[in-house]
Symmetry: D2
Subunit: 322 residues, 4 copies
């Protein structure tokens, strides 16, 4: 028993050394994951597949059980979890929950070796405030929101938009690569979120624009496939027209061909536009199209279409119920 204690302590020391060595060269890490929802569950699984040791928490017992079955250690308290990990990911629904979660995890001090990485979509201002609070306690905090949706999370093909120092970016890159295929350094703290919000605002606008243009072209007599080809080889092309056309029958893999199920929900794009709208207000940035897009998706949500892919805006606009 004493032997076991000794060897456990030796093992721990060995582990610590190994981890420190690995943090630039790769290798198995102790990784925390708080938030095991549609996205987080897949992301945590991919970290296990890549050989890392996962320490997880979620308020949903089934979500925890699913990760436990794959080898993760489940915690009842995030504060305890946070003490045991090299990297700690949070993947949570909104500003308030992210804020409360960090409050809880760091109230009684932090493990100074931990890098906290928030992959939720939140206000860049909150990122900056969390970074200050956590760095004041001696640990590090960066933002790394994602795009790519549930399929990207499942297939480990997410894009990560990282806000932090060059050194922090380098320190987390290898771990992020277990979950994504494009890891972009956007700038300082909060710039990952800023990039995500501005990109998604553009996406939100262009999806409505494509829906209007396709609908108009079709009502004027054009064949939708013909018009999509024209636009896609011309100045009107965009990701939404090429890769995710909202008209059924045009892009085979798009949600439009699957009754607008799956994909990127109207609820989520509405949430992102709410955040973008907030930072536009605080920075006095005119966003007439972004603001109108926000209201249009909000209207779709009110009409009961919140859980559908956001390209359903085409379907809504094409209606002719006379």
């Amino acid at each position: 028993m004493s032997l076991r204690i000794v060897s456990q302590s030796m093992l721990n020391a060995w582990n610590q050394t190994l981890i420190r060595g690995m943090s630039t060269q790769g290798g198995s890490k102790n990784i925390g994951f708080v938030g095991l929802g549609n996205m987080g569950g897949h992301m945590a699984s991919n970290l296990i597949k890549a050989g890392h040791k996962l320490h997880v928490f979620d308020i949903s017992k089934p979500a925890c059980d699913s990760l436990k079955a794959k080898g993760a250690t489940v915690y009842a308290k995030t504060a305890e979890l946070a003490q045991n990990v090299d990297f700690l990911f949070t993947m949570l629904p909104n500003n308030d929950i992210v804020d409360a979660s960090y409050e809880e995890m760091t109230a009684n001090g932090v493990n100074k070796n931990t890098i906290f990485i928030d992959s939720s979509t939140i206000d860049p201002t909150l990122v900056k405030s969390l970074q200050k609070r956590i760095s004041a306690k001696g640990a590090r905090f960066i933002d790394a929101p994602v795009s790519g949706g549930v399929p990207g999370a499942e297939q480990a093909t997410l894009t990560f938009m990282v806000g932090g120092t060059e050194a922090e970016y380098n320190a987390v890159k290898a771990v992020l690569e277990c979950m994504g295929k494009r890891i972009t350094h956007c700038g300082d703290y909060g710039m990952g979120q800023a990039a995500k919000l501005a990109n998604n605002m553009m996406l939100a606008i262009s999806m409505i624009g494509v829906s209007e243009a396709m609908n108009l072209a079709m009502r004027l007599g054009l064949n939708p496939k013909t018009f999509a080809e024209i636009i896609n080889s011309s100045t009107g092309r965009c990701w939404a027209s090429e890769m995710y056309n909202p008209v059924p029958g045009v892009t085979p893999t798009a949600p439009a061909n699957n009754s607008y199920k799956g994909g990127f929900s109207t609820d989520l794009i509405t949430k992102d536009l709410g955040l973008a709208s907030g930072v536009a207000t605080s920075s006095n940035t005119p966003i007439p199209m972004g603001a109108l897009a926000h209201q249009i998706y909000r209207t779709l949500k009110s009409q009961g279409l919140g859980s559908k892919d956001f390209s359903i805006v085409y379907d809504f606009m094409k209606n002719e119920k006379y």
Copy 2:
């Protein structure tokens, strides 16, 4: 000297033969061109370069003189001009002038071999009405509006969007290829215009969207080049962000780097949105983003920016005159 004459005449004969061989089956045609403005002048010149015999008309004498110097025959009356040509192009500023021009050209009958091709940007409804009037007289009429702007007209790299029958499309393709590099058959009469208007509406929307997203990202602290790279490899990308970024310093060839000179003027995109808005009204098509874009460019025009490239919308929005 006689040698020179002979060799010149031989050269001409050789050229004619070569040209005839080069077009698919045709060869040198008698082509009419009515409207020798910024676009039409270059287009007519390119037809001459391709070996065709040009018959031209414009209300501007210098415009006519310039084409005459290149070998074109200048007419005082378009009705007479129209009797002498295989193909007749019109490239005119608006619905009313196009309508009046066809009225004049066809009032006293038509040459039944002539194919009239309108490359102006007009209402698809007018196209259909002109097609009926002209086919009733025994000739043919199709729409073939262009995109690519003055540089495209000069370098013969325009895109033509053709509305007409398959046979008519095939009949005009070789001639259009003397002026453009992409000749698309969009569908029946008016569908060329419909495609152009819907494409340009999308372009108008995405340019404002990109301007808002770039401006927001920059005010939040992102570097414009970094953000442009992120958006261009992500779901927010569009032609305007990739090829024609409105922020100076991002796309080297864009008008943004040349004080928003040249390019596609705010006046012209406002005109196209006016036409798109008209057909959206008559077809009861909701175009919230298109309508807002229309008002934004109209406001720029009112602010004295009508002659600037339409990407100046970024410059207008980024202002902070406190």
Copy 3:
């Protein structure tokens, strides 16, 4: 037979004198009415009630029969009708029908004593063009569109917005007063239409604004009646909030309390906004709110709400189908 001719000619002379006398003091006139729809039928009836002799035309036989039963003379040809009247009203659905109707009525000359009065809602540009054509033939033409809807037409409480000279306004005022209670001289030809379109654009905007403000206030916890009282005694008040509140239970007489039936249909306000949008485009007038309002009503129409009162926009926006 000669007696008959003589007496007819005497009768005519007597009639002319009588008409001249009446035209300033009132008295029975020969009045034509072309277009006996929901509005026109009531208006023509009110002219009969006021003692005038009505000469009517409509493509609907029941509409004609109804007026015949009240004493009107029904015509098969408007050209013939127009020869027999002092005043001729047109109350027709749109630009094209108004244009065609005047073409038909005046093709073979006009009775130079006739004042043509168009009470339809049409483009002010068409008004000006009709005025030129008709005055060139020797008769007079003015615009006098109405507001007040079917109830106003029925109860003879319409507002007439008159475009024409002071003399013409004075010449028609007494007749218009048989159908309305407010006869406003707006200015020269077309200014009646201009006033109506600009007023209705404002109405369209404020109805949506009130709907948004009421809905927001209620979602934040305010009682709708309390909030309506606050707004109506404050800077947010408008006709739509005071007289026609879109929230059921607030204004007892408003269509909101009758399942949004009756009133001013979404179809009609959409039509008026289409005309306003057209003249804004041709006059380069920025109308961002007007254009957005247009798209919102157009969307309601597409959602099958075209025949409902336009205040149904509140009902549409308040939905929460989760």
Copy 4:
């Protein structure tokens, strides 16, 4: 001595009665005022004029000196000030400053007789949270934002929109009447702010609508005064068209006749729309017109017009710089 005790107790009883009596009939109170800016300075002065004893605080020494000269007691610490007053008004620039101010004033306990009244314009959510915090400490807190601007503050003609219980409304009414002429009970805590934000959103929308309608009417040829009369007696009328017409020469007392100076600044309406937009987002309320209005005023602000009266939106839109 016993007499004295008796009389002291009688005096206390009498005082209580008096206070109770005063609370409906008036009488001199100890009133705190935190925030002596453009609005607050005048409001505090009016309380002095009405016979109350003022206890004031502001970070600006001149603002404090000005009130001191009128008889107010100036404090260095708001916590101390708050202990000495029956009513304490806060009139501060934004959410954060209001929040911080209450934190400071109540950190070391409260005088349980004090009614705190916030007349700033802030988020209704913050009102509810402040009410909970302060009532938990034993004092009362209500919201009573104002409309009427600097002239209303100066002339004691403000409108107060009160959120709180019926009893609290009755308790503060007499004091508010020293500063305003219309004291409205809007509902429970936060409902004063909710009413103000929803009313001002409507005002913001209708001012732009009136500007568009006036501009359109004028460009079509109508005289602005004639059109204003038409609209004001018709369905397009609103407070902005009647009392505050944005076209110079129409409403003599409007800022439009004074180079858009004074009045209600573009900066302030933009701020209010930012708050309205925030609560619309959190309550999922569609506000398409409100959101567009927000962006339009924000654009005016960016163009350097933030300090001008918000009716300058007309002047901006009417521009024709060709």
